[in-house]
Structure formats: structure tokens, C-alpha cells
């Protein structure tokens, strides 16, 4: 038989639960919403799950040319809003959480002030999130990588953009690296610059570099995407060479798909593009099943590769409707979903590949 005291206790617990539910509902109702569209019909093998066009508030409510996006282990969506020098963070349902960044110059011209302080960005291009939820951002025009915690608080930066990295990089004046994309795997960070891959520890110590400018296997011409497979294979979107290259963590070439299409200005050497696999691969991500998703900007599609580089399928078509793409640039993956920076449509799209 329940005593009066027990009854009141039970009532208090029930009321507390109701209060929590009420507060949760109020939070969901009152918290800011991003400019999002849910769902949609599959288009050319791409099923739109969520379309995000911006935070929907503040002085810049919409994105302008987002270049990359990622889904963190904390289920958050991070969008690199490149022209606005910020990272916008959303829930998996598209609810805007917060943003961080702002414009800062780390390597000013002589006579100009360095305005950079921890967290400010200068044309960010790439992003990745590690298992702890820390966020790594390719701070392209500051020639450095910046690391933030899951709440967007600045943690550290590397390399020092005013010092030479290893045996040299593509940063302005030969210091730092003009980093276009980053990938985190275990204790290492892999960064693509204009013609090579530079490897650091997650603390920022230089480990190694590999690659050189060129069209030969293992060389690069403006790589713009990098990802690491579960077995440690480093996948690089060698953009201007129109190919994907895979390396061991130490930099040994494992395989390549696509071909270089460079033309020498002197010799005018011609190459046959008729059997090209890619138009302009710019972003790359590894799905949970080990397959590789490549964003091809010029073909307006996502190309799915096996873990050995065989083409498994092509998804997507040009356009501005949900599920369509317009010069897409970057890609991230989680589960069976991909998040694509749909650059020229000024949006990010969470998509499912309908195989």
C-alpha cells in the first residue's frame, strides 16, 4: 500500500518529467531554425534528405559559395561557408545551432596589420571532424589549419604560416601551406596543398610530406579533396589532373583512377579526353562500407568508387531543385548519407545515394 509520502514523491517525479518534456518542446519551438527543406523525391539516384541554405538569421542568413561540409561523430552538420569566412553548425535535422569564424589575416603584407586571432578565418575551404568531435578547418589564405572543439572554441593552429614547412609548401612567400582540404585519422592530420600532401600529428607536429607538381602517377595538380579510409589509405582528389589517387599513409601510391589532362604551354601536347573518368573531381569522402564518394564538379554528380578505384556508379544531375547539383565542391559522409557543399546553388545538401 503506497503511503501519502510515496504518492507525493511519485507525483513530483511525474511533474518533473512533464516539466522536462515541456521545456524540450519549448526549446524546439523557440530555438532558431536554419533555412532548410526536408526530404524530396530522388533525382538521378540522389534522394534529398535535407537542404540547408543558411542559418536563416543574422547579417548573413544565407550561404555564399560553401566549399565543404562534414558530419561529425556528434551527429552535427558543419558547413564551410567560404565566402563568409565562417563555419555554420546544424543538427542532423537542419536546426541551426551556432556559427564560428569571422575574417582575420594571419600573413599581412608589410605595412598592414595582422588581424588574425585564434578562430578567425581567411577563405576556409575544407573541414573534417575527429572522433572526439574536434573540428579541423583548412584556412586556405592564412596558409594554416585551425582546430576547434565541438562548440566552436578555438584550440590551436598549425603549421606556423610564417615558417617553412618541411621542405617547402605552397603557402605565400614559401611559408605555411595553402591548404585546400584536411582529413583526420587517428593521431594524424592529412592536408592537401597546391601540389602535395602534408602530414601532421593532431597536435600539429610535422610528420612527412609526399607528392610533387606534375601529371605523373603520384604527382598532383591542385588537389582539392582528401579523405582517409578505415585501413589508412589516403584518398586524394587530384583535381586538375582529373583523377583520384590512393596512397599508403607513408605516401606510396596504391592506385589511381582517371588521368592527367595537363597540356604543356610550350609543346601544346594534346591528350585524348574522350575516355576521361572525371571532369573535375574536387571533393572526396569514404562511406561506412568502404566505398569512396567523389564529387565531380564539371559532371555535376557524385561518382562512387570501390576501395580499389573501380567505378561503381554515378549519381546526380545538374540543376537547382533539391537533389540536383550545381558545381558541387566538397563532400562528407556518415552512415549511408553524404553531405555535399552544393557551391553554385549556395547550399549544402544531405543526400542518400539510391543504389
Amino acid at each position: 500500500m503506497m503511503t501519502a509520502r510515496q504518492g507525493f514523491g511519485l507525483l513530483a517525479v511525474a511533474l518533473a518529467v512533464l516539466l522536462i518534456i515541456l521545456l524540450l518542446v519549448l526549446f524546439l519551438l523557440l530555438s532558431p531554425r536554419g533555412l532548410v527543406t526536408q526530404g524530396g523525391a530522388a533525382v538521378a539516384g540522389l534522394e534529398p534528405v535535407l537542404t540547408i541554405e543558411g542559418p536563416g538569421r543574422g547579417s548573413e542568413p544565407t550561404f555564399r559559395r560553401p566549399m565543404d561540409a562534414a558530419i561529425g561523430s556528434n551527429d552535427r552538420i558543419y558547413v564551410v561557408d567560404s565566402d563568409h569566412n565562417r563555419i555554420a553548425v546544424f543538427t542532423r535535422r537542419g536546426r541551426f545551432l551556432f556559427e564560428f569564424g569571422g575574417f582575420g589575416i594571419a600573413k599581412p603584407l608589410p605595412g598592414f596589420d595582422a588581424t588574425w586571432e585564434g578562430g578567425l578565418l581567411n577563405f576556409p575551404l575544407g573541414i573534417d571532424v575527429d572522433d572526439r568531435g574536434d573540428v579541423y578547418v583548412a584556412d586556405f589564405r592564412n596558409d594554416q589549419i585551425q582546430v576547434f572543439d565541438a562548440e566552436g572554441e578555438f584550440l590551436r593552429r598549425f603549421p606556423d604560416p610564417t615558417k617553412r614547412v618541411g621542405q617547402g609548401g605552397s603557402g605565400q612567400d614559401g611559408t605555411g601551406i595553402a591548404v585546400t582540404d584536411v582529413a583526420v585519422a587517428g593521431d594524424h592530420v592529412y592536408a592537401a596543398d597546391s601540389y602535395q600532401v602534408v602530414v601532421f600529428t593532431t597536435r600539429g607536429e610535422f610528420v612527412r610530406q609526399f607528392g610533387r607538381p606534375g601529371v605523373e602517377p603520384g604527382a598532383f595538380d591542385r588537389p582539392n579533396g582528401i579523405a582517409v579510409a578505415p585501413d589508412g589509405t589516403v584518398i586524394v582528389a587530384d583535381s586538375n589532373n582529373a583523377r583520384i589517387q590512393a596512397f599508403s599513409p607513408e605516401g606510396q601510391l596504391k592506385w589511381a583512377v582517371g588521368r592527367g589532362v595537363h597540356v604543356s604551354g610550350i609543346t601544346g601536347e594534346q591528350r585524348d579526353d574522350s575516355e576521361a573518368v572525371f571532369g573535375l573531381p574536387r571533393g572526396v569522402a569514404v562511406l561506412d562500407d568502404g566505398t569512396i564518394a567523389v564529387v565531380d564538379s564539371f559532371e555535376y554528380e557524385i561518382v562512387l568508387l570501390s576501395d580499389e578505384g573501380q567505378v561503381l556508379g554515378r549519381f546526380g544531375q545538374r540543376g537547382a531543385s533539391p537533389g540536383q547539383l550545381n558545381l558541387p565542391n566538397g563532400i562528407g559522409a556518415a552512415g549511408d548519407l553524404v553531405i555535399v557543399a552544393d557551391k553554385e546553388n549556395n547550399r549544402a545538401q544531405l543526400l542518400r545515394l539510391v543504389k
Partner: protein
């Protein structure tokens, strides 16, 4: 049903068919009514699409195109679709993926696909550049009037008739319509040496046409080489023989820049009198490496006449020898901790500059030009 009604129906049907005939006879390969918004209204109506787009004959130098994004169109490729959409283009203008030519070009040419782009200077200063060929902003050409040397207005291809990228560059890369590679140009970034500094990537020679048109901005004259003549197709008031007096910029005039103090050798600081453009203290054209062979006298430098680019170029110190010992942006191997030999710094000429009038001045100089610019050629000891 009376006969008049039947006749009426027949006549009406005949008229309908007659009206429909002209509609069905419309040749979809001929455009008639493209309006200004399409960006094609400057073309003559009634021409076939093929008149412009043609069928590329790879054996015809006038039609030969490059591979890569800008060219390589054939019956087995789908390269046109990289930029143009036949149906359902997201933007109306020329069926491009972006609203303007500039926006489309900058989708790739934003620094991630190559150098020499707009926006680099602001990224290092926080301020707009001091001078630029301003894109989709103006239709005024400084020094464009051949009679007075003053400004001249001209309709270009950008929105509202403003200057845009395709007025100077040919995005379709048809070789017969582009200038020859500019052999007098200097090194460009990150295309020369491996990251371990062990070898020169000779395949990445510096010379390139940069997809520059032989007849930029719709000029009547065709120029095959990027240099003074090319600039003067637009800046007509700056050329020799125009209606005003100019610093001579071409060799076919009475003035020759052939008695200037130049270095006696690459390793010397001694000078002798000689023509500009070889080992001149202020502007020594860099060596060009082609397939492993280095040459010091590129074709354009054989001329004693100076080039516009000898005064108008990226910001650098004209009082110091312009000697490139390493590829841009990299320290000297013998002094890895020393200053970079990247000079000039940004390599965005002629797009934009952090000096006035796109002139070569020492970095940070606020004046439009200083005496150093003159002394660059007119040595004070002479």
C-alpha cells in the same frame, strides 16, 4: 448541316493549317528573337547555331582546342556540359551555372585551381587593391582614346556592357584564336620544383597563352603575342603614333632602348651599355626552362623595344635586380631559412595590384610612381 457551314469549317481548318505551317517550319537551329537578357542579342539574327559553335576539326589550327577544362570538344566528349546546359540551366545568362561570366570563372579560378586570381591582395590587406582591371564594374578604358590619350568608353561583354573575363580570355581555348605563349614571361608559382627540391618539373614550363584572345575586347586588329601590341588594342592612346606623345613602347619608332646599362654577365655586378630586356638591372627576364633546356633570350626579348610589362607588372622593387633563383614562393636551397626569392609577391598582374596604375613600385610605396621607376632604365650614371 448546311453547305456554307461545311465550307466555313474547311476554310477555317485550312487557315489553321496554314498558320501552323509557319510555326512548324521554325528552324530550331536558327535563333531569331534572343533578347538582351540572354546575353546573345549582339549576334546577328538568323544565323545557325553551328555558325558559332561549329564542329571542331582537330586538324584545323583555327579550330584546334586544348584538352583540359578549356577545350577538347569532340564527338566522343561531353566537355561543353562542364559550363553550359542545353536545358534547365540554373542561370539564364548563356546557359551558364552562374549568373555572370565572372561568377562562373571564379567558381574555379578562386585560388584553388590556379594562381593569378582576383581577391588575393584583399586577403592579405583587408582592403581593396589600389588598381585593377576591374571586372563587371566599368566600361571605361584609361588611355583608350587614340587621339587624345584620354579615357574611352566601349561596350564589353559583361553585365551592362562592362568589362568581363571573356573580353580578354577565350574560355573555349581555340588555339588559332589565342596568342602565342609569352616566352618573356617570368616564372609562376609552384610549378617548377618538387617538394623535396630534388628536380625541376620541366613539363610545367612557364610560358602559356593564358587563353588570351588575339583580338581582345572585340578589337579589329589581331595580335599574336601577348605584349605591348596586345595591350594597345584596347589602350590605343598609349601606343606609338597615337595622337599624343607617349613614352615609346614599340620598336618600330625612332627611339630605341638599346643603350642602357645592363649587367655584363649573370654573375656580375658590372654593367655595360646594351639593349633593355636582357640583363637589365631592373628587369632581367628570367630564364625559361623548356624540356630541360634553359634559354636566356626568349623570343620577345630579342626586340630592343621595351614592353608595357617592364613598367606595369606586379609590385616589386624596381631598384633591385629582379633575379629569380628559385621557383616562386620558395627560399633558396642554399639558404633555406633566408628570405624567399618570390619577387613579385602576388603575381596577379594584370588583374589587380597593391600599387597605383598597376605600376612596378617598391612594396608599400604610396606614390603613383617614384624616380626609381625611371632610373630602372635611365641609369643616373649615363
Amino acid at each position: 448541316m448546311g453547305r456554307p457551314l461545311i465550307i466555313g469549317i474547311i476554310i477555317a481548318a485550312a487557315l489553321m493549317f496554314a498558320g501552323a505551317t509557319s510555326a512548324f517550319a521554325y528552324d530550331e537551329l536558327v535563333y531569331e528573337d534572343l533578347d538582351a537578357e540572354s546575353g546573345l542579342d549582339h549576334l546577328e539574327p538568323g544565323r545557325d547555331c553551328i555558325d558559332c559553335h561549329g564542329i571542331v576539326d582537330p586538324e584545323d589550327p583555327e579550330q584546334k582546342t586544348r584538352s583540359g577544362p578549356h577545350g577538347g570538344y569532340s564527338s566522343s566528349t561531353t566537355k561543353c556540359g562542364a559550363c553550359h546546359s542545353v536545358h534547365a540551366a540554373p542561370a539564364y545568362f548563356m546557359l551558364l551555372p552562374g549568373p555572370t561570366i565572372k561568377s562562373v570563372c571564379e567558381s574555379c579560378h578562386d585560388g584553388t585551381g590556379g594562381n593569378g586570381v582576383y581577391g588575393v591582395i584583399k586577403a592579405r590587406t583587408g582592403e581593396e587593391p589600389l588598381s585593377a582591371h576591374r571586372i563587371e564594374t566599368t566600361n571605361i578604358i584609361p588611355g583608350g582614346d587614340p587621339e587624345t590619350g584620354g579615357p574611352r568608353a566601349q561596350p564589353f561583354s559583361g553585365p551592362g556592357g562592362t568589362l568581363t573575363c571573356t573580353d580578354c580570355h577565350s574560355p573555349h581555348g581555340i588555339e588559332g584564336r589565342m596568342v602565342e605563349p609569352f616566352l618573356g614571361d617570368r616564372y609562376r608559382s609552384d610549378r617548377y620544383i618538387s617538394s623535396d627540391s630534388s628536380e625541376v618539373a620541366t613539363e610545367y614550363a612557364t610560358a602559356s597563352s593564358r587563353l588570351l584572345r588575339r583580338a581582345p575586347t572585340g578589337a579589329d586588329t589581331s595580335v599574336t603575342v601577348y605584349g605591348t601590341g596586345w595591350c594597345a588594342t584596347c589602350h590605343q592612346g598609349r601606343a606609338n603614333g597615337s595622337g599624343t606623345h607617349n613614352h615609346p613602347v614599340q620598336q618600330d619608332d625612332h627611339f630605341y632602348y638599346n643603350r642602357l646599362p645592363v649587367l655584363t654577365s649573370l654573375d656580375s655586378t658590372e654593367t655595360t651599355l646594351g639593349p633593355l630586356g636582357q640583363s637589365n638591372l631592373g628587369y632581367r627576364m628570367p630564364e625559361i626552362t623548356v624540356n630541360g633546356e634553359t634559354t636566356r633570350t626568349p623570343l620577345q626579348q630579342e626586340s630592343p623595344g621595351p614592353l608595357c610589362q617592364q613598367c606595369h607588372e606586379d609590385v616589386r622593387d624596381a631598384t633591385q635586380e629582379f633575379k629569380i633563383t628559385e621557383p616562386d614562393g620558395r627560399p633558396d636551397d642554399d639558404d633555406p631559412e633566408g628570405p624567399s626569392t618570390d619577387n613579385p609577391r602576388f603575381q596577379v598582374f594584370p588583374h589587380e595590384s597593391n600599387a597605383q596604375r598597376l605600376l612596378i613600385v617598391p612594396p608599400g610605396t604610396s606614390a603613383a610612381y617614384t624616380d626609381a621607376l625611371c632610373l630602372n632604365c635611365h641609369h643616373w650614371e649615363e
